[in-house]
Amino acid sequence: MEHKEANSRKIKLLVNNVAREDTVPVDLRLADYLRDWLNLKSVKEGCGVGDCGACTVLLDGKAVVSCIIMAVEADGSSIVTLEGLAAEGKMSDLQEAFLAKGAVQCGFCTPGMIMTAAGLLAENPQPTAEEIKRAVAGNLCRCTGYQKIIEAVLYTAEIRNQKD
């Protein structure tokens, strides 16, 4: 019988603020680890090679595509998925803005889109429309035409800045 076992390695990381320790195959992709091992199904797979952004998560606060990162590479880091944005099930302001501005249609690109936007706003709290467009250029959406997505991010920034 033929079946090659991949090598395994122990990793420790924080996922949505929960400490995890797992022994994972070295070629297990971060996306699969999050989806299949931790049941974080907001992480979507649209292409598997970094081109569509559906699998975007935050790794140490930065948006990355989890389909071209191995779980072992995330050892020692902190990961946030869309599930982690809604504290105790309550929608974050960014999620609310996506809903309110009509930025969601089929919703398949939405988790990745929101995570990229979250990464952007963390680094640049007052982005221009042009900066938002550049930032989400790696998140393909076939439904919306992006306009309402840009509006939602702008709106979130505006609300946050009013609060400050």
Binding site: S42, V49, M91, G102, T110
Partner: protein
């Protein structure tokens, strides 16, 4: 809780929006099953070959393999219009990428490894890829290999009109007036050829299917399909089951755009599931596989028009639709785009031939617009050339020629509620283009120019087909809407809930629209042709009215009044005598001592629909309604590199009645973006052996956020007498005019016609160079 009405004409939050922004919406790839097996598919490396032998015995060397199937294991043929397609290739393969064998195993890695153990012996045969050549219509290449020698023996729908002894699986004809006479009397005649190559739907969700032969004898399938009932009936016929044994469940869909209307790989997964002792089998496609599963048609179009005194008096067209190795809905695309083919213009002499042609390329299917993007590309670029030759501003030329209410269409229909002119006027006003006074291009320096272009389009829906719906009001006051229209992102569930809120006064927050499931939700033909709001919407509206009538009857009984005196207010039923409101639950309780649901039923039935005559294409009512759209594009053209920057698109659509204006704008913005993608950058590239070269998002480009211009959606409302609340459909029409409007703006700058899409910088630059050389030679 404060009461919110959120009925027709308002823009409540999308009812499935919260689960989507929370990441909780479940797509096929997210569903979980006990004992799940994963499938993998071995496909043909050849576009055309005989299969001499297949040896699958090697798969059993791989641990975890549970089932293997080849064409020999599954009888029968399937297909939407022509039943020409085996579940897996049998004696021959007809395109590179055609399924030849499939394996189910305990995980994907084992299934993939098992594929490498299958030995297939092929003998390559001659392939044909160009639709005009495949149709036998190229002068120098009259003999071509036949893809389906038994074409005439296949079962088929009446809309498929094959030509014996050819690769033409359907020839649609339309004849009106006398084109030859009109050409001879015209001031001038212009003849051109256009081409739109194959492109792809690119739903961001790749295809996924799970099938299980359940112990109780039913076949249960979970799939991202737009038409659960078409699938149910196809699977029942293929696998010898009755309709009520086939359960099709549709979870949340990640886009559709036509790619999920008809059965594609579901039969194959069922074939595997029959061999797994009731274990569910799942097939999730990679992006690369999704590119080969199904595609949009490529098309070559010849167009010839005669113009007299600024009016188009005659038009002759021929279209060669490349439908690929199997017909799928190709004949219907040829037909449905066929009767709209000459464009939204009043033309008295029309002669059209549309051929749906087999080629050795992947199967082409419906695509948002059902051929409209292709034909609009041809007739709208052509219209600008006609206007130029006639010396008339292209906007003015269109206004002078477009079809209007009361005009007779090319099939002989008396047109009603036509918003074509309204759409053109709306975009012209928004863009500041006075009819007759097209602004001249602005020179921006270093070879860059800014200019405006216009284009318009129409789209018929389809022949009327039925839809049913039920609305179940529970004693507690919550509502379930059962309808099999699939919400794949267009927001139909929200629209349906709004209709129920409108009719019953029950707040939107209490209304849930079920996922389609053929064991639960009643019949609906398809979610396609922009028909959801019109047809399924009518069914839901009727069902809600029916439910409300029942409540009124109970109210009459309890309050001692006439039923029509019973009104709703803030979600309660009003006692007309006291003005007091009673909850629905209390009302039911008082009327019949509780314990029942109120079930409203509704159907969309339509009278007076006609077919189209086989020889002349004439018919007085071929489609339940029409849609109209017009765009003006503001474009920056870099004449030195061929780069285009689309700055703005003003996009008007006649929606009849905007039931939810936000949804309408979403459809326009998304549709325009898709239209720009296929017109400006998207093209599937095949090598000389018919193998796809760019089947991934790295090499096949769709627009990103940076590529999309500012889109200004404009809603025109010319109410349709039969549509619910006056609504028409909307999903498809906005895709048509965007790219032609851009092309027309670019032409204004360069004066060199580029007739093949997409307008990639390279195509433009090299065509201009060649055009210049040609000019110099002349």
């Amino acid at each position: 809780m404060t009461y919110k009405h959120e009925g027709v004409g308002e823009a409540p939050l999308r009812i499935d929006g919260d689960i989507k922004v929370l990441g909780k919406a479940e797509y096929v790839q997210d569903l979980e099953y006990a004992n799940l097996l994963e499938a993998a598919v071995l496909t043909s490396p050849y576009a055309s070959a005989k299969i001499l032998a297949i040896d699958v015995s090697g798969v059993w060397q791989v641990e975890g393999v549970k089932a293997v199937v080849t064409g020999r294991d599954v009888d029968g043929l399937y297909g939407t219009t022509v039943q020409d397609r085996p579940v897996l290739a049998r004696d021959r393969v007809r395109y590179a990428g055609e399924p030849v064998a499939a394996v189910a195993a305990i995980n994907k890695a084992a299934a993939m490894l098992a594929l490498t153990k299958i030995r297939v012996e092929y003998e390559e045969t001659i392939a044909v890829f160009d639709p005009e050549e495949a149709a036998g219509m190229k002068e120098d290449k009259k003999t071509v290999p036949l893809l389906h020698e038994n074409l005439m023996d296949y079962e088929r729908e009446i809309t498929a009109m094959p030509v014996a002894g050819s690769n033409i699986c359907s020839h649609f004809k339309l004849r009106k007036g006398d084109v030859e006479k009109a050409f001879s009397e015209a001031d001038f005649v212009l003849e051109e050829e256009y081409e739109v190559p194959r492109n792809h739907h690119c739903c961001i969700e790749p295809y996924g299917v799970v099938a299980q032969m359940e112990r109780e004898g039913t076949l249960h399938i979970w799939t991202c399909n737009q038409s659960p009932y078409v699938l149910q009936r196809n699977l029942a016929a293929l696998f010898g089951l009755s309709w009520n044994q086939v359960r099709v469940t549709i979870p949340t869909l990640g886009g559709g755009f036509g790619s999920k209307i008809y059965p594609s790989l579901e039969p194959l997964v069922v074939a595997l599931a029959q061999k797994t002792d009731h274990r569910p089998v799942r097939l999730l496609l990679s992006r690369e596989e999704e590119f080969l599963r199904i595609t949009n048609h490529g098309c070559k179009i010849k167009i010839k028009s005669g113009v007299k005194e600024g009016k188009v008096t005659a038009r002759q067209m021929a279209a060669y639709w490349d439908t690929g190795a199997y017909a799928d809905c190709g004949p219907l695309v040829a037909r449905n785009s066929g009767f709209t083919f000459a464009g939204p213009y009043k033309i008295d002499n029309v002669k059209l031939d549309a051929y749906s042609v087999y080629t050795n390329l992947p199967v082409a299917t419906a695509f948002r617009g059902y051929g409209i993007p292709h034909v609009t590309w041809a007739y709208e670029l052509h219209t600008d050339r006609l206007a130029e030759k006639a010396g008339i501003d292209p906007l003015q030329f269109r206004l002078d020629n477009v079809i209007q209410t009361g005009d007779i269409s090319h099939t002989g229909e008396e047109m009603q509620a036509v918003g074509m002119k309204g759409c053109l006027e709306a975009v012209a006003e928004a863009a500041g283009w006075q009819p007759g006074q097209r602004p001249a291009p602005v020179d921006l320096g270093n070879g860059r120019y800014r200019s405006l272009g216009v284009a318009c389009s129409w789209k018929g829906s389809m022949r009327h087909y039925g839809s049913s719906a039920t609305v179940r009001i529970m004693e507690e006051g919550s509502v379930e809407v059962n309808v099999s229209n699939v919400d794949m992102g267009q927001g139909s569930s929200t629209i349906f809930a709004q209709m129920v809120a409108e009719e019953t006064g029950i707040p939107l927050s209490k209304i849930r629209v079920q996922h389609p499931d053929t064991f639960i939700t009643p019949y609906d033909r398809t979610t396609s042709a922009s028909r959801g709001t019109f047809h399924a919407g009518t069914a839901v509206m009727e069902a809600a009215k029916d439910a409300w009538r029942q409540i009124q009857e109970y109210g009459a009984q309890v309050f001692g009044c006439r039923p029509e005196e019973v009104k709703s207010s803030e979600g309660k039923v009003l006692n007309p005598k006291t003005g007091e409101g009673l909850s629905i639950g209390k009302l039911i309780n008082q009327a019949v001592m509780g314990g029942i649901d109120i079930i409203g039923k509704g159907h969309s039935r339509m009278k007076g629909g006609t077919g189209l005559d086989k020889e002349t294409g004439q018919g007085a009512n071929p489609t339940s309604f029409w849609m109209y759209a017009a765009d003006i594009a503001e474009v920056e053209t870099d004449t030195r590199t061929g780069e285009l920057k689309v700055l703005k698109i003003y996009a008007a659509s006649d929606v009849g009645k905007a039931i939810n204006p936000v949804n309408c704008r979403q459809q326009i913005e998304g549709g325009v973006t898709m239209g720009l993608g296929i017109g400006l950058m998207e093209e599937m590239l095949f090598d000389e052996k018919g193998r796809l070269l760019n089947g991934n998002f790295h090499d096949y480009k769709i627009p990103t956020a940076v590529d999309v211009p500012e889109i200004i959606p404009l809603l025109v409302e010319v109410p349709h007498p039969l549509g619910p609340y006056g609504a028409k459909g909307l999903g498809e029409a906005p895709v048509g005019p965007a790219a032609p409007a851009v092309a027309n703006a670019v032409y204004q700058v360069t004066g060199i016609a580029v007739r093949r899409s997409p307008l990639r910088p390279e195509n433009l630059k090299l065509s201009w160079q060649k055009g210049k050389e040609a000019e110099l030679r002349d």
